[in-house]
Amino acid sequence: MGEGVIIVGSGPAGVSAAWPLLQAGVAVTMLDADPGGALPAAPEGTMAGLRGNASRWQVQFGADLAGVAGRGALSPKLGMPLARAVLAGFEAGNRIGVDGFVSLGSLAAGGLSHIWGGAAAVYDAADLAGFPFGEAVLAPSYAAVMGRIGVSQVSGFSPPVGRVWAAAGRRPATDGFELEPARNAVLRADRDGRGGCVQCNLCLFGCHRGSIYHSDQELPALLAMPGFSYRRGARVVRVGVDAGRPVVALSGGEVVRGQRVLLACGTLATTGLVMRALGLARLRLLSNPVAAMAFVVPGLVGAGLPERGFSLGQLAFRLGIGGGVRAAGMLFAADGLPLSTFAGQMPVSRPVALRLARALAPALVLANCYLPGGFSDNAVVLEADGVRLVGRTTAAARAGLREAAQRLRRALAGLGAFAIPGSLTLAAPGADAHAAGTLPMGGDGPGGTDLTGAVSGLPGVHVVDGAALPALPARHYTLTIMANADRIARLLAVA
C-alpha cells in the first residue's frame, strides 16, 4: 500500500509536514495512534458562570471524579479531564518507562496540542545558535505556519497582570529584563470555522470556541486535499527498512510502506522508535528546567473575581542571569484556576487556606521561568522492552533557576507585584513538556540526522518533530517544531 509519504502523528509537527507535500502534489498517508472515542467536550459559558454551578465538579474532575486527586501543582491543567484523556496510555503505547522524568506525550489525534498553552515564539539568531541553518532559512516556514494557525498578541489583561504591564510602561527596563504581551496561537476573530476568543476564561478545560489552536482543527482542510489519506488507530510499534525502503509496523501486525516515513510522534515516542530500530543504547535528551512562582498585587487582595479573563500566558518576559544565559517565562493570572491548586501549598489550616486562596486569586500573578536546555541532564536509555527516560536536575539548573527567580522577584517588585515567600517551586525534569534534541539535525554522533531530519542508518526515515532540534533555547518551541517540519517537507517535496 501507499507510494507516497507516510507521516506518523497528527500533532502540530505531523500536520505542518503534510501541507507542503500535499501542495506540491505528493501523496500523504497520515497515521496516528488515536484509539477512537471523543475527548471530553469543552464546557461552554464562562468561568464566572461555572464557579457556583451545580455541575462544576463534573467539568473539573470528570463524571467519574477521577481528577479530584490532582496531578502536579505546577500545571493544574494536567489534572483536568481533557488532559487526562489526551495523555492517557502514552507510556504503555510507546513502551516508555521513566526514572525521574515526567513523560508528557499523547496518543490522541492532534496530540499534546489539545492541552498546550499556545505560547508561540519565533527563535531569533541567538536562539538558533547550534542549528545548522539561520533565521532566513526558517523565516518563510514561520510565516506559513503562523498564517495557518493564527498567532495574536494579548491585548486585554487580567487586573493584576494589567497593573504590572501598566507599571512597566512607566518605568525604564531594568538590566536585561524585557517584558511584552504574550504571543499565542489564539484567534481574536472568527476564521476557518474557529471562533475568536471571547475571554471566557475556561482555557484550562479546553476551548469550546476553538480559539486556541490545536492541530486536529486542520484535519478537515487536509482531508479536502487531493492525495491525502488519514488513518486513526494506527499505532506504530516499529520502524525499519525493507529492501531499501522504509516501513512501519502497526500494533495489529500490519506493515505500511512508503517512499519516505516522516516521524512526528512527539519527541519521546519518535526517539523510542528510532533507538529501537537502530539499537542505540543511550541518547541525550534536552528539556528546559522550569520553576514556578507566585506574586501578589496587594491592592487587589479580596477583590471580586472578574467576569472575563484568559488563562493562558498574558505577558512574556526574558531576563539575563549572567554568563550570557537568557532565561524566559510567562506571567499568568490565577482567576481562572481552581483555588484548591494553590490552597494546598499554604502553610495555614485548610479552611483558612481556602479563604486566603480566594482572597488572593484576583490579585495573583503566576510566573513560570525556563532555562535553556543546556542546563538539563537527561537521557533516553534503551532497554530490553522499550526505552527509559532518565531525568536529573543539575546543580547548575537549580542555581540558575534560583538566580532567575531572584531577578524576576526584583523586577516585578519594581512593577508592584511582590513575590510570595516560599512559593518558588522547581519542577521535575520533563514537566516543561519541551523534550527535544535526541536526534539532532547536523549531529554527527549516534542518532544524528541531516538537514532534512534523515536518520543515518534508516534510509527514507525522517524525524520532523522536537527530536530533531539540535538546541533548546529557553523559549516555547512548538512553533519552531512546526516551522522546521514545514521546512523539511518543502525540501522533500522537490527532492
Binding site: 464557579r51 457556583g52 454551578n53 451545580a54 462544576r56 465538579w57 473539573q60 474532575f61 471524579l65 479530584v68 486527586a69 490532582g70 487582595v301 479580596g302 477583590a303 471580586g304 481552581p338 483555588l339 484548591s340 490552597a343 494546598g344 502553610p347 495555614v348 489550616s349 485548610r350 479552611p351 483558612v352 487556606a353 481556602l354 479563604r355 486566603l356 480566594r358 482572597a359
Partner: protein, 397 residues
C-alpha cells in the same frame, strides 16, 4: 430440595446462615425458642436445647444439621447434655451431616468455661458426617454478640484498656462463617475444621482497625493485666449504660491460641478476606465514611455540606475505608494529620470549592467582611503556629 436444620437459627450467626442457605436454595427449618430473628422464608419450630430432635422438624432423612444453639444461662453440662440429646435424635432420624459450631477456644484445658464445654461436646461427635467447626473471632453483620460489644467499646474512647493486645486473634467475617458452615453442611466431614483467618492479627490491631473503619477514629490500646481486667468486668456490670463485659469473654480472649486452619480453608475453597476488606462491606463502614465526609466538609467549608456534595465525597473515596479522624478539634489537630487524613482533607477541600455551597461560603459578605474574617482566621492560625511547628517536627521524627 436439600433440607437444612439450623438450631439457634434466630441468633447472630444463625440468622445469617439461614438467610444465606435460603438464597442458595436450601429448604430451611430453624429450631429456636422463639421466632424472633429467624429470617422470613424459613420454617420455624419451637425448640429448646435439651429437647432432642422435634417430631415436626420435617423430613430429616438425609438432611443436614447446623447446630449453633448455645445456652449461656444454664449450667455448663446442660449444653453437652442438650447436644447429646439432639445428636441422638438426628442419628435416629437418619440425618446425613451434623455440623457443630464450636470455637477457636475449644480445648480440654481452656481458660474459659465456654472453651471447655465446646471441647467436651466435640468429643461426642465421632461418626462420619459429624464435624465441629472451630470458629475464630467473628465480625460483621448485625452489631451483636462479641462483635457488637467490640464495636461499642472501640467507639467510646480514644484510649481503650485491653488485656494482652499483642495476642493474635484470627478474625473472620460473618458471611464467610456462614458460607463455610454451609459448605460443611453440604460435604460433611470428620473431626474439627477451623473457620478463621489463616494468619492471625494482634487483637490490639483488630480493635484499631475497627475503630477506624467503623467510627473513623484513632484508638490507643492500653495493655492491662488480666487480673485487673477481671476486676474491671465486675465494676462495669455496676455502671449504668456502660456495656457490660463479662469474665467469660475476657478469659476466652486471654486463652486464645493460634489455630492452623489454612489447609481447611483451602479444602473448603473458602476465601477469608483481611478485616479491613471485610469491614468495608458493612453498613457501619459506609456510615463512618458519611460521618467523615460530613465532618471534613463542614470543617473546610465552615458550613454544613448538602447531600449532593456529601455523596460526591463518598464516591470519590471509592473503595477506601474511613480514615481515623482526630478526637480533638480539627483546627488544632489538622497539623498532625498523617498522609491519609491529609489526602482526605485535600479531597474535601477540592470538592467543597467546586460546589454551589462552597461558592456561597467563599462569596459571603462584603469584601471588607471577608477580609476581616480571613484576618481573624490568620490570627488564630498564627496563635497555633507553635503547634504546627511542633507537628512538623513530630511528623518528621
Amino acid at each position: 430440595m436439600r433440607h437444612l436444620i439450623v438450631t439457634g437459627g434466630g441468633g447472630y450467626i444463625g440468622g445469617r446462615v439461614v438467610r444465606r442457605a435460603l438464597a442458595q436454595g436450601w429448604a430451611v427449618t430453624a429450631l429456636s425458642r422463639s421466632r424472633r430473628g429467624v429470617p422470613v422464608g424459613a420454617r420455624h419450630v419451637v425448640w429448646g436445647l435439651g429437647e432432642g430432635l422435634p417430631a415436626d422438624v420435617g423430613d430429616a432423612q438425609g438432611a443436614a444439621v447446623i447446630h449453633l444453639a448455645h445456652d449461656w444461662g444454664v449450667r455448663a453440662e446442660a449444653n453437652a447434655a442438650g447436644t447429646q440429646a439432639l445428636l441422638a435424635g438426628c442419628r435416629a432420624a437418619g440425618v446425613g451431616r451434623f455440623v457443630f459450631v464450636s470455637s477457636q477456644s475449644a480445648r480440654a484445658d481452656a481458660a474459659n468455661i465456654y472453651g471447655r464445654v465446646k471441647w467436651g461436646i466435640e468429643q461426642i461427635l465421632d461418626r462420619d458426617g459429624e464435624v465441629s467447626a472451630r470458629v475464630g473471632l467473628v465480625y460483621g453483620g448485625p452489631v451483636q454478640a462479641m462483635f457488637g460489644l467490640l464495636c461499642k467499646l472501640t467507639g467510646m474512647t480514644p484510649v481503650l484498656p485491653m488485656i494482652d493486645p499483642w495476642r493474635k486473634v484470627q478474625p473472620i467475617h460473618i458471611d464467610e462463617v456462614a458460607e463455610g458452615l454451609l459448605r460443611l453442611a453440604e460435604r460433611g466431614g470428620r473431626g474439627w475444621v477451623g473457620l478463621a483467618a489463616a494468619e492471625g492479627v494482634a487483637f490490639g490491631t483488630f480493635l484499631k482497625v475497627l475503630a477506624r473503619e467503623f467510627h473513623g477514629r484513632g484508638l490507643m490500646v492500653l495493655p492491662v493485666p488480666v487480673r485487673f481486667a477481671l476486676l474491671a468486668c465486675d465494676v462495669s456490670a455496676r455502671i449504668p449504660f456502660f456495656p457490660t463485659v463479662d469474665r467469660e469473654r475476657v478469659l476466652g480472649l486471654a486463652g486464645t491460641r493460634a489455630m492452623a486452619c489454612g489447609a481447611h480453608l483451602a479444602a473448603l475453597g473458602l476465601e477469608v478476606a483481611p478485616i479491613e476488606v471485610g469491614l468495608r462491606r458493612e453498613v457501619g463502614s459506609r456510615r463512618a465514611i458519611l460521618a467523615e465526609g460530613r465532618g471534613l466538609l463542614r470543617y473546610v467549608l465552615g458550613a454544613a455540606p448538602g447531600v449532593d456534595l456529601l455523596r460526591r465525597y463518598v464516591r470519590a473515596v471509592g473503595g477506601g475505608g474511613a480514615v481515623a479522624r482526630p478526637w480533638g478539634a480539627l483546627r488544632v489537630m489538622e497539623a498532625f494529620a498523617g498522609p491519609v487524613l491529609a489526602g482526605r482533607l485535600d479531597l474535601a477541600l477540592a470538592l467543597a470549592e467546586a460546589s454551589p455551597e462552597g461558592e456561597r461560603a467563599l462569596m459571603a459578605g462584603s469584601r471588607f467582611g471577608r477580609l476581616a474574617r480571613l484576618s481573624l482566621g490568620l490570627v488564630v492560625d498564627g496563635v497555633m503556629l507553635p503547634v504546627r511547628v511542633a507537628a512538623a517536627w513530630w511528623r518528621r521524627g
